[in-house]
């Protein structure tokens, strides 16, 4: 039996998008340019994200930080406990180094500041996909 690895084919990467702005969620979904990336869900806060992650088992999550109900830092912490192999790209307006360091220490794998261009988004996603 051939596996994706044997044939060199790439398996589909499941993406969960987390941001309290509908506009940003749609922007990420629209701007990503990967044929092997499938958006499996979008969430407006950390609580919704955890619930969706349980149901959809994402490989990659884009994570806002400043959100109501449960912020991104707490969500990253719980998400990594639930699913240690998940890759997390923080996409946040918070531009200080301490925030980026804290997110990485909690388990994030990449950090992209808002506002971002399509190219910056795709480069950041590619770094975590391959």
């Amino acid at each position: 039996m051939d596996t994706a690895q044997d044939t060199g084919a790439r398996r589909t990467v499941k993406l969960l998008i987390v941001d309290d702005s509908n506009i940003v969620r749609r922007r990420i979904e629209r701007s990503q340019q990967f044929d092997d990336l499938q958006v499996v869900g979008t969430a407006a806060n950390g609580l919704e994200a955890l619930e969706l992650a349980r149901r959809t088992d994402p490989d990659l999550v884009t994570m806002d930080l400043t959100m109501p109900q449960m912020d991104g830092i707490e969500c990253i912490t719980q998400l990594v406990q639930m699913k240690p192999e998940v890759r997390i790209l923080v996409i946040s307006a918070l531009a200080d180094k301490a925030t980026a360091v804290e997110a990485m220490e909690r388990g994030a794998n990449g950090f992209l500041n808002k506002p971002f261009t399509d190219r910056q988004l795709n480069e950041a996603i590619a770094e975590l996909m391959y």
């Binding site: 309290d20 702005s21 509908n22 506009i23 940003v24 749609r26 922007r27 629209r30 400043t66 959100m67 109501p68 946040s92 307006a93 918070l94 531009a95 200080d96 301490a98 925030t99 500041n113 808002k114 506002p115 971002f116 261009t117």
Partner: protein, 148 residues
Amino acid sequence: MLREEELKTFVDGTTRYFEVAAQQPASIGSPYMLEGEPAMHDYTGMINVSGKREGVVYFTAPRAMLTVLLMKMQESDFSHESMRDLVGEVANTISGNARRDFGHDFVISVPSVFSGEKPQVSQPAGARAFVIPIHWRSHSAKLVVSLT
């Protein structure tokens, strides 16, 4: 108290937002000190600031400007909810970017959004408020920064 040189952080953040998100630079007018209550446009996104500094940062813009901004962002939803979403996101982005200079203790809230109703702006003792005029295409908006 907010110093005039600190305003550069917010001017730069506003410039960056329009350059990157709208792919068309805005012209930023000379900031001036706010006296009395500012005229609000149709939609206002407000961020409360706490921690090392206290006060508010808010972005207020007319519906016509937000509609064009959404179009430039390839959006097709021009509903009331999208307008509210956008002013909140602009205020959040510019305020969050300010942490590059103000640091981690510049704590920002999630946005409160006002449309139609007049927002209650509470100015903490010792705060100074400045208006940063924003001109983009044929539209005008304001960023108001009121901080201790």
